[in-house]
Protein backbone atom coordinates (compact mmCIF):
# COMPACT_ATOMS: atom_id res chain seq x y z
CA UNK A 1 0.00 0.00 0.00
CA UNK A 2 1.46 3.40 -0.95
CA UNK A 3 1.96 5.90 1.86
CA UNK A 4 1.14 9.50 1.04
CA UNK A 5 2.74 12.22 3.17
CA UNK A 6 0.95 15.54 2.98
CA UNK A 7 -0.23 18.53 4.99
CA UNK A 8 -3.96 18.71 5.63
CA UNK A 9 -5.31 21.85 7.26
CA UNK A 10 -1.82 22.82 8.49
CA UNK A 11 -1.22 19.38 10.05
CA UNK A 12 1.41 17.00 8.62
CA UNK A 13 -0.06 13.52 8.10
CA UNK A 14 0.94 10.18 6.58
CA UNK A 15 -1.86 8.11 5.13
CA UNK A 16 -1.98 4.56 3.79
CA UNK A 17 -3.89 4.65 0.51
CA UNK A 18 -4.70 2.21 -2.26
CA UNK A 19 -3.02 3.12 -5.55
CA UNK A 20 -6.36 3.68 -7.25
CA UNK A 21 -7.86 5.93 -4.59
CA UNK A 22 -8.91 9.47 -5.35
CA UNK A 23 -8.20 12.35 -2.97
CA UNK A 24 -11.72 12.23 -1.53
CA UNK A 25 -11.11 8.64 -0.42
CA UNK A 26 -7.86 9.73 1.22
CA UNK A 27 -9.70 12.50 3.08
CA UNK A 28 -12.84 10.61 4.08
CA UNK A 29 -11.74 6.97 4.36
CA UNK A 30 -8.07 7.52 5.18
CA UNK A 31 -8.33 10.49 7.56
CA UNK A 32 -11.97 10.44 8.63
CA UNK A 33 -12.48 14.03 7.49
CA UNK A 34 -16.14 13.81 6.52
CA UNK A 35 -16.72 17.50 5.76
CA UNK A 36 -15.82 17.06 2.08
CA UNK A 37 -18.82 15.54 0.28
CA UNK A 38 -18.94 13.34 -2.78
CA UNK A 39 -21.81 14.43 -4.99
CA UNK A 40 -21.62 13.26 -8.60
CA UNK A 41 -18.17 11.64 -8.29
CA UNK A 42 -17.30 12.69 -11.83
CA UNK A 43 -16.15 16.27 -11.49
CA UNK A 44 -19.36 18.05 -12.46
CA UNK A 45 -21.09 19.14 -9.25
CA UNK A 46 -18.36 20.77 -7.16
CA UNK A 47 -19.45 19.28 -3.80
CA UNK A 48 -15.97 17.75 -3.23
CA UNK A 49 -14.01 20.94 -3.95
CA UNK A 50 -10.88 21.40 -1.80
CA UNK A 51 -7.72 23.48 -2.15
CA UNK A 52 -4.49 21.69 -3.11
CA UNK A 53 -1.46 23.97 -2.88
CA UNK A 54 -3.92 26.86 -2.92
CA UNK A 55 -5.58 25.73 -6.15
CA UNK A 56 -9.19 24.65 -6.49
CA UNK A 57 -9.35 20.89 -6.92
CA UNK A 58 -12.09 18.32 -7.42
CA UNK A 59 -11.18 15.73 -4.78
CA UNK A 60 -13.20 13.11 -6.70
CA UNK A 61 -10.95 13.46 -9.78
CA UNK A 62 -7.51 13.97 -8.21
CA UNK A 63 -5.55 10.77 -7.58
CA UNK A 64 -4.57 10.28 -3.93
CA UNK A 65 -0.96 9.36 -4.77
CA UNK A 66 -0.59 12.72 -6.56
CA UNK A 67 -1.23 14.51 -3.22
CA UNK A 68 2.16 13.39 -1.87
CA UNK A 69 3.93 16.51 -0.62
CA UNK A 70 0.88 18.73 -1.17
CA UNK A 71 -0.86 21.17 1.17
CA UNK A 72 -4.57 20.47 1.25
CA UNK A 73 -7.26 22.70 2.77
CA UNK A 74 -10.69 21.19 3.43
CA UNK A 75 -13.77 22.71 5.04
CA UNK A 76 -12.45 21.51 8.42
CA UNK A 77 -9.57 23.96 7.93
CA UNK A 78 -11.87 26.96 7.40
CA UNK A 79 -12.97 28.64 10.64
CA UNK A 80 -13.22 26.87 14.00
CA UNK A 81 -16.06 25.55 16.14
CA UNK A 82 -15.65 28.62 18.36
CA UNK A 83 -15.46 31.15 15.55
CA UNK A 84 -16.89 30.68 12.09
CA UNK A 85 -15.00 32.06 9.12
CA UNK A 86 -16.74 35.21 7.82
CA UNK A 87 -17.83 33.29 4.69
CA UNK A 88 -19.45 30.59 6.84
CA UNK A 89 -21.05 33.25 9.02
CA UNK A 90 -22.50 34.98 5.94
CA UNK A 91 -23.88 31.68 4.58
CA UNK A 92 -25.63 31.03 7.92
CA UNK A 93 -27.07 34.53 8.24
CA UNK A 94 -28.38 34.57 4.66
CA UNK A 95 -29.90 31.11 4.83
CA UNK A 96 -27.61 30.05 1.98
CA UNK A 97 -27.72 26.51 3.36
CA UNK A 98 -30.63 24.13 2.97
CA UNK A 99 -29.62 20.46 2.96
CA UNK A 100 -26.00 21.54 3.32
CA UNK A 101 -24.48 18.96 0.98
CA UNK A 102 -23.07 21.50 -1.51
CA UNK A 103 -22.03 23.92 1.25
CA UNK A 104 -18.45 22.76 1.96
CA UNK A 105 -17.57 22.96 -1.74
CA UNK A 106 -19.26 26.34 -2.07
CA UNK A 107 -17.44 27.77 0.97
CA UNK A 108 -14.07 26.56 -0.35
CA UNK A 109 -14.79 27.93 -3.83
CA UNK A 110 -15.95 31.26 -2.37
CA UNK A 111 -12.74 31.43 -0.35
CA UNK A 112 -10.70 30.90 -3.51
CA UNK A 113 -12.74 33.60 -5.28
CA UNK A 114 -12.32 36.20 -2.51
CA UNK A 115 -8.62 35.40 -2.04
CA UNK A 116 -8.11 36.19 -5.74
CA UNK A 117 -10.72 38.93 -6.15
CA UNK A 118 -11.86 40.58 -2.87
CA UNK A 119 -14.54 42.75 -4.53
CA UNK A 120 -16.18 40.59 -7.21
CA UNK A 121 -19.13 41.81 -9.24
CA UNK A 122 -22.33 39.75 -9.25
CA UNK A 123 -21.36 38.45 -12.69
CA UNK A 124 -17.93 37.41 -11.43
CA UNK A 125 -19.49 35.64 -8.42
CA UNK A 126 -21.94 33.75 -10.63
CA UNK A 127 -19.21 32.80 -13.09
CA UNK A 128 -16.79 31.65 -10.37
CA UNK A 129 -19.43 29.53 -8.63
CA UNK A 130 -20.76 28.12 -11.93
CA UNK A 131 -19.16 24.73 -11.25
CA UNK A 132 -20.85 24.29 -7.85
CA UNK A 133 -24.37 22.94 -8.05
CA UNK A 134 -27.00 23.47 -5.36
CA UNK A 135 -29.91 21.13 -5.99
CA UNK A 136 -32.02 22.79 -3.30
CA UNK A 137 -31.45 25.74 -5.68
CA UNK A 138 -30.99 28.49 -3.13
CA UNK A 139 -28.75 30.34 -5.52
CA UNK A 140 -29.98 33.84 -4.70
CA UNK A 141 -29.24 33.39 -0.99
CA UNK A 142 -25.79 32.06 -1.91
CA UNK A 143 -25.17 35.13 -4.08
CA UNK A 144 -26.28 37.38 -1.21
CA UNK A 145 -24.01 35.54 1.23
CA UNK A 146 -20.96 35.84 -1.02
CA UNK A 147 -21.62 39.56 -1.57
CA UNK A 148 -21.92 40.06 2.17
CA UNK A 149 -18.82 37.98 2.90
CA UNK A 150 -16.86 40.04 0.38
CA UNK A 151 -17.78 43.20 2.30
CA UNK A 152 -16.92 41.64 5.65
CA UNK A 153 -13.56 40.32 4.55
CA UNK A 154 -12.54 43.63 3.04
CA UNK A 155 -13.52 45.58 6.18
CA UNK A 156 -11.29 43.39 8.31
CA UNK A 157 -8.17 44.11 6.27
Amino acid sequence: MPVVALTVNERAVRVDVAGHWTLIQLLRDGLGLLGTKEGCGEGSCGACTVLVDGRLTRACLALAVRADGARVTTIEGVGTDAELHPIQDAFVRHGAIQCGFCTPGLIITTKALLDENPRPTDHEIREFLSGNFCRCAGYNMILNAVRDAAGLLTERR
Partner: protein, 290 residues
Protein backbone atom coordinates in the same frame (compact mmCIF):
# COMPACT_ATOMS: atom_id res chain seq x y z
CA UNK B 1 -17.89 6.43 -7.48
CA UNK B 2 -14.61 4.54 -7.24
CA UNK B 3 -11.92 3.57 -9.71
CA UNK B 4 -10.84 0.08 -10.70
CA UNK B 5 -7.25 -0.73 -9.68
CA UNK B 6 -4.46 0.28 -12.04
CA UNK B 7 -0.69 0.63 -11.96
CA UNK B 8 0.66 4.17 -11.73
CA UNK B 9 4.01 5.55 -12.88
CA UNK B 10 5.23 9.08 -12.08
CA UNK B 11 7.54 9.89 -15.02
CA UNK B 12 10.70 11.91 -14.42
CA UNK B 13 11.32 12.62 -18.10
CA UNK B 14 9.39 12.45 -21.37
CA UNK B 15 11.57 9.51 -22.44
CA UNK B 16 10.56 7.69 -19.22
CA UNK B 17 6.92 8.24 -20.11
CA UNK B 18 7.37 6.98 -23.67
CA UNK B 19 9.21 3.88 -22.41
CA UNK B 20 6.51 3.18 -19.82
CA UNK B 21 3.80 3.54 -22.47
CA UNK B 22 5.66 1.17 -24.80
CA UNK B 23 5.98 -1.41 -22.04
CA UNK B 24 2.42 -0.89 -20.81
CA UNK B 25 0.57 -2.29 -23.78
CA UNK B 26 -2.38 -0.91 -25.65
CA UNK B 27 -4.48 0.18 -22.71
CA UNK B 28 -1.80 2.28 -21.00
CA UNK B 29 -2.81 5.94 -20.78
CA UNK B 30 -1.06 9.22 -20.14
CA UNK B 31 -2.49 11.23 -17.23
CA UNK B 32 -1.89 14.88 -16.41
CA UNK B 33 -4.81 16.79 -14.78
CA UNK B 34 -7.17 13.82 -15.01
CA UNK B 35 -10.29 15.92 -15.61
CA UNK B 36 -11.12 14.03 -18.82
CA UNK B 37 -9.55 10.63 -18.13
CA UNK B 38 -10.74 9.98 -14.56
CA UNK B 39 -14.49 10.42 -15.31
CA UNK B 40 -14.12 8.08 -18.29
CA UNK B 41 -12.45 5.51 -16.02
CA UNK B 42 -15.18 5.89 -13.39
CA UNK B 43 -17.79 5.13 -16.04
CA UNK B 44 -15.65 2.20 -17.32
CA UNK B 45 -15.52 3.75 -20.79
CA UNK B 46 -11.76 3.25 -20.42
CA UNK B 47 -10.17 0.58 -18.21
CA UNK B 48 -6.44 1.29 -18.38
CA UNK B 49 -4.18 -1.14 -16.52
CA UNK B 50 -1.42 1.49 -16.40
CA UNK B 51 -1.49 5.26 -15.95
CA UNK B 52 1.67 7.10 -16.93
CA UNK B 53 1.76 10.51 -15.25
CA UNK B 54 3.62 13.35 -16.94
CA UNK B 55 2.41 15.93 -14.41
CA UNK B 56 5.75 16.22 -12.64
CA UNK B 57 8.15 16.11 -15.60
CA UNK B 58 10.31 19.25 -15.18
CA UNK B 59 9.67 21.96 -17.75
CA UNK B 60 6.35 20.69 -19.10
CA UNK B 61 4.32 23.34 -17.24
CA UNK B 62 6.24 26.32 -18.57
CA UNK B 63 5.06 29.18 -20.74
CA UNK B 64 7.92 30.76 -22.70
CA UNK B 65 8.31 33.26 -25.55
CA UNK B 66 8.43 31.51 -28.92
CA UNK B 67 9.91 32.59 -32.23
CA UNK B 68 8.82 35.90 -33.81
CA UNK B 69 6.61 37.00 -30.94
CA UNK B 70 4.88 33.66 -30.48
CA UNK B 71 4.56 31.34 -27.50
CA UNK B 72 5.78 27.92 -26.44
CA UNK B 73 3.42 26.38 -23.93
CA UNK B 74 4.26 23.19 -22.06
CA UNK B 75 1.70 20.43 -22.28
CA UNK B 76 0.76 20.22 -18.58
CA UNK B 77 0.14 23.97 -18.22
CA UNK B 78 -3.34 24.32 -16.72
CA UNK B 79 -6.10 26.32 -18.38
CA UNK B 80 -6.00 28.59 -15.33
CA UNK B 81 -2.27 29.21 -15.82
CA UNK B 82 -2.65 29.86 -19.57
CA UNK B 83 -5.53 32.30 -19.08
CA UNK B 84 -3.80 34.17 -16.24
CA UNK B 85 -0.28 34.38 -17.73
CA UNK B 86 0.59 38.01 -18.68
CA UNK B 87 2.73 36.69 -21.57
CA UNK B 88 -0.27 34.84 -23.08
CA UNK B 89 -2.63 37.76 -22.43
CA UNK B 90 -0.19 40.03 -24.25
CA UNK B 91 0.83 37.78 -27.15
CA UNK B 92 -2.24 35.64 -27.68
CA UNK B 93 -5.31 37.16 -26.00
CA UNK B 94 -7.56 34.88 -28.09
CA UNK B 95 -5.99 31.77 -26.52
CA UNK B 96 -5.97 33.28 -23.02
CA UNK B 97 -9.68 34.08 -23.30
CA UNK B 98 -10.63 30.67 -24.76
CA UNK B 99 -8.84 28.94 -21.87
CA UNK B 100 -10.73 31.15 -19.41
CA UNK B 101 -14.00 29.70 -20.74
CA UNK B 102 -13.20 26.00 -20.17
CA UNK B 103 -15.77 24.35 -17.86
CA UNK B 104 -15.57 25.83 -14.33
CA UNK B 105 -12.77 27.46 -12.26
CA UNK B 106 -11.96 24.19 -10.50
CA UNK B 107 -11.69 22.21 -13.72
CA UNK B 108 -9.56 25.00 -15.21
CA UNK B 109 -7.13 24.83 -12.31
CA UNK B 110 -6.75 21.04 -12.71
CA UNK B 111 -7.11 20.39 -16.44
CA UNK B 112 -4.17 20.94 -18.79
CA UNK B 113 -3.92 22.41 -22.28
CA UNK B 114 -2.16 19.32 -23.66
CA UNK B 115 -4.67 16.98 -22.04
CA UNK B 116 -7.54 18.95 -23.51
CA UNK B 117 -6.07 18.54 -27.03
CA UNK B 118 -5.25 14.83 -26.62
CA UNK B 119 -8.80 14.12 -25.44
CA UNK B 120 -9.80 15.16 -28.96
CA UNK B 121 -13.21 16.46 -27.96
CA UNK B 122 -15.04 18.58 -30.52
CA UNK B 123 -16.44 21.00 -27.92
CA UNK B 124 -13.00 21.90 -26.56
CA UNK B 125 -12.59 25.65 -26.02
CA UNK B 126 -8.83 25.97 -26.68
CA UNK B 127 -8.95 23.84 -29.85
CA UNK B 128 -10.78 26.29 -32.14
CA UNK B 129 -8.59 29.11 -30.82
CA UNK B 130 -5.42 27.14 -31.59
CA UNK B 131 -6.82 26.20 -35.03
CA UNK B 132 -7.57 29.85 -35.80
CA UNK B 133 -4.06 30.76 -34.62
CA UNK B 134 -2.57 27.97 -36.78
CA UNK B 135 -0.63 26.55 -33.83
CA UNK B 136 1.47 23.37 -33.91
CA UNK B 137 1.87 20.56 -31.38
CA UNK B 138 5.10 18.83 -30.42
CA UNK B 139 4.84 15.06 -30.19
CA UNK B 140 7.48 12.80 -28.70
CA UNK B 141 7.41 9.05 -29.28
CA UNK B 142 9.55 5.94 -29.70
CA UNK B 143 10.72 7.20 -33.12
CA UNK B 144 11.75 10.61 -31.79
CA UNK B 145 10.10 14.02 -31.88
CA UNK B 146 7.89 15.56 -34.55
CA UNK B 147 5.91 18.74 -34.98
CA UNK B 148 2.37 18.47 -36.32
CA UNK B 149 0.28 21.46 -37.43
CA UNK B 150 -2.84 21.51 -35.26
CA UNK B 151 -4.90 21.65 -38.46
CA UNK B 152 -3.78 18.01 -38.97
CA UNK B 153 -4.05 16.90 -35.34
CA UNK B 154 -7.79 16.28 -34.96
CA UNK B 155 -8.64 13.31 -37.16
CA UNK B 156 -12.17 12.31 -36.10
CA UNK B 157 -14.63 11.79 -33.25
CA UNK B 158 -12.34 11.81 -30.15
CA UNK B 159 -9.48 10.82 -32.46
CA UNK B 160 -6.15 12.54 -32.92
CA UNK B 161 -2.90 12.06 -34.85
CA UNK B 162 -1.13 10.82 -31.68
CA UNK B 163 0.66 7.57 -32.47
CA UNK B 164 1.30 4.57 -30.21
CA UNK B 165 3.31 5.52 -27.12
CA UNK B 166 3.47 9.11 -28.33
CA UNK B 167 3.20 12.01 -25.85
CA UNK B 168 2.19 15.58 -26.66
CA UNK B 169 4.87 17.69 -24.98
CA UNK B 170 4.10 21.25 -26.01
CA UNK B 171 2.15 23.70 -28.11
CA UNK B 172 3.76 26.33 -30.36
CA UNK B 173 1.51 29.34 -30.90
CA UNK B 174 2.43 31.85 -33.64
CA UNK B 175 2.17 35.56 -32.82
CA UNK B 176 -1.14 37.26 -33.57
CA UNK B 177 -0.64 39.83 -36.37
CA UNK B 178 -0.42 43.47 -35.31
CA UNK B 179 -3.87 45.02 -35.21
CA UNK B 180 -5.66 41.67 -35.32
CA UNK B 181 -9.26 41.72 -34.11
CA UNK B 182 -10.41 38.58 -32.36
CA UNK B 183 -13.29 36.90 -30.57
CA UNK B 184 -14.02 33.54 -28.98
CA UNK B 185 -17.76 33.02 -28.85
CA UNK B 186 -18.95 30.14 -26.66
CA UNK B 187 -22.63 29.47 -27.25
CA UNK B 188 -24.10 27.38 -24.42
CA UNK B 189 -27.88 27.50 -24.55
CA UNK B 190 -28.35 26.20 -20.99
CA UNK B 191 -25.65 27.07 -18.44
CA UNK B 192 -22.27 28.70 -18.04
CA UNK B 193 -20.31 25.50 -17.34
CA UNK B 194 -21.80 23.53 -20.24
CA UNK B 195 -19.76 22.47 -23.22
CA UNK B 196 -19.93 24.69 -26.28
CA UNK B 197 -22.73 23.97 -28.71
CA UNK B 198 -20.88 26.39 -30.97
CA UNK B 199 -17.37 27.43 -29.94
CA UNK B 200 -16.31 29.92 -32.59
CA UNK B 201 -12.82 31.40 -32.69
CA UNK B 202 -12.28 34.30 -35.06
CA UNK B 203 -9.32 36.49 -35.92
CA UNK B 204 -9.43 39.16 -38.62
CA UNK B 205 -6.89 41.63 -39.96
CA UNK B 206 -8.48 44.53 -41.82
CA UNK B 207 -7.31 47.40 -44.04
CA UNK B 208 -10.20 49.79 -43.56
CA UNK B 209 -13.19 47.62 -44.53
CA UNK B 210 -11.12 45.21 -46.63
CA UNK B 211 -10.28 41.88 -45.00
CA UNK B 212 -6.62 41.01 -45.36
CA UNK B 213 -6.56 37.89 -43.14
CA UNK B 214 -9.52 35.80 -41.93
CA UNK B 215 -9.08 32.92 -39.50
CA UNK B 216 -12.18 31.07 -38.36
CA UNK B 217 -12.46 27.75 -36.54
CA UNK B 218 -15.24 26.04 -34.63
CA UNK B 219 -15.70 23.34 -32.03
CA UNK B 220 -18.81 21.61 -30.74
CA UNK B 221 -20.54 21.44 -34.12
CA UNK B 222 -19.02 18.49 -35.98
CA UNK B 223 -17.16 15.34 -34.91
CA UNK B 224 -13.98 17.31 -34.27
CA UNK B 225 -12.92 20.96 -34.11
CA UNK B 226 -12.25 22.33 -37.60
CA UNK B 227 -11.05 25.35 -39.55
CA UNK B 228 -13.89 26.99 -41.49
CA UNK B 229 -11.87 27.13 -44.69
CA UNK B 230 -14.62 28.20 -47.08
CA UNK B 231 -15.82 30.91 -44.74
CA UNK B 232 -12.25 32.24 -44.48
CA UNK B 233 -11.98 32.25 -48.29
CA UNK B 234 -15.29 34.09 -48.58
CA UNK B 235 -13.89 36.90 -46.44
CA UNK B 236 -10.24 37.29 -47.44
CA UNK B 237 -9.58 40.06 -49.95
CA UNK B 238 -13.19 41.27 -49.73
CA UNK B 239 -14.83 44.45 -48.48
CA UNK B 240 -16.71 43.33 -45.38
CA UNK B 241 -20.20 44.47 -46.26
CA UNK B 242 -23.38 42.76 -45.12
CA UNK B 243 -23.67 40.58 -48.23
CA UNK B 244 -20.07 39.32 -47.99
CA UNK B 245 -20.47 38.49 -44.31
CA UNK B 246 -23.73 36.66 -45.03
CA UNK B 247 -21.98 34.64 -47.78
CA UNK B 248 -19.24 33.66 -45.31
CA UNK B 249 -21.85 32.61 -42.73
CA UNK B 250 -23.60 30.48 -45.35
CA UNK B 251 -20.25 28.98 -46.39
CA UNK B 252 -19.53 28.06 -42.76
CA UNK B 253 -22.96 26.46 -42.35
CA UNK B 254 -22.37 24.52 -45.56
CA UNK B 255 -18.95 23.13 -44.73
CA UNK B 256 -19.74 21.50 -41.38
CA UNK B 257 -21.24 18.09 -40.71
CA UNK B 258 -23.06 18.78 -37.44
CA UNK B 259 -23.70 16.23 -34.71
CA UNK B 260 -26.95 15.84 -32.80
CA UNK B 261 -27.10 15.26 -29.05
CA UNK B 262 -29.11 16.27 -25.97
CA UNK B 263 -27.84 19.85 -26.27
CA UNK B 264 -29.19 20.35 -29.77
CA UNK B 265 -30.05 18.87 -33.13
CA UNK B 266 -27.74 18.90 -36.12
CA UNK B 267 -29.84 21.57 -37.85
CA UNK B 268 -29.88 23.75 -34.73
CA UNK B 269 -26.09 23.58 -34.61
CA UNK B 270 -25.83 24.48 -38.29
CA UNK B 271 -28.24 27.40 -37.88
CA UNK B 272 -26.47 28.69 -34.76
CA UNK B 273 -23.11 28.50 -36.52
CA UNK B 274 -24.53 30.60 -39.38
CA UNK B 275 -25.93 33.14 -36.91
CA UNK B 276 -22.74 33.41 -34.87
CA UNK B 277 -20.38 33.67 -37.85
CA UNK B 278 -22.52 36.52 -39.17
CA UNK B 279 -22.68 38.32 -35.81
CA UNK B 280 -19.05 37.79 -34.80
CA UNK B 281 -17.58 38.78 -38.18
CA UNK B 282 -20.02 41.70 -38.33
CA UNK B 283 -18.96 42.88 -34.89
CA UNK B 284 -15.26 42.58 -35.70
CA UNK B 285 -15.75 44.43 -38.99
CA UNK B 286 -17.40 47.28 -37.05
CA UNK B 287 -14.58 47.30 -34.50
CA UNK B 288 -16.71 45.83 -31.71
CA UNK B 289 -14.14 43.45 -30.32
CA UNK B 290 -15.71 42.44 -27.03
Amino acid sequence: MILRPFEYVESKTVDDAVAALQGGGEDARVIAGGTALVPLMKHSVLRPSLLVSIARVPGLAEIAPGVSGGLRIGTVTTHWAVSHAPLVQERSPLLAYACSRVASPTVRSMGTLGGNLCYGESASDPSPALLALRASVRLHGPGGARIVPITEFFTGFYETALGDAEVLTGIDVPAMPAGARWRYLKWTPRAQEDKALVGLAAMLVLDGRRCRVARLAVGGVGASPIVLTRAEQALEGQELDEATIARAADAAAGEVEPMADLQGSAEYRRDMLRVWVRRVVGDLAEGRTS
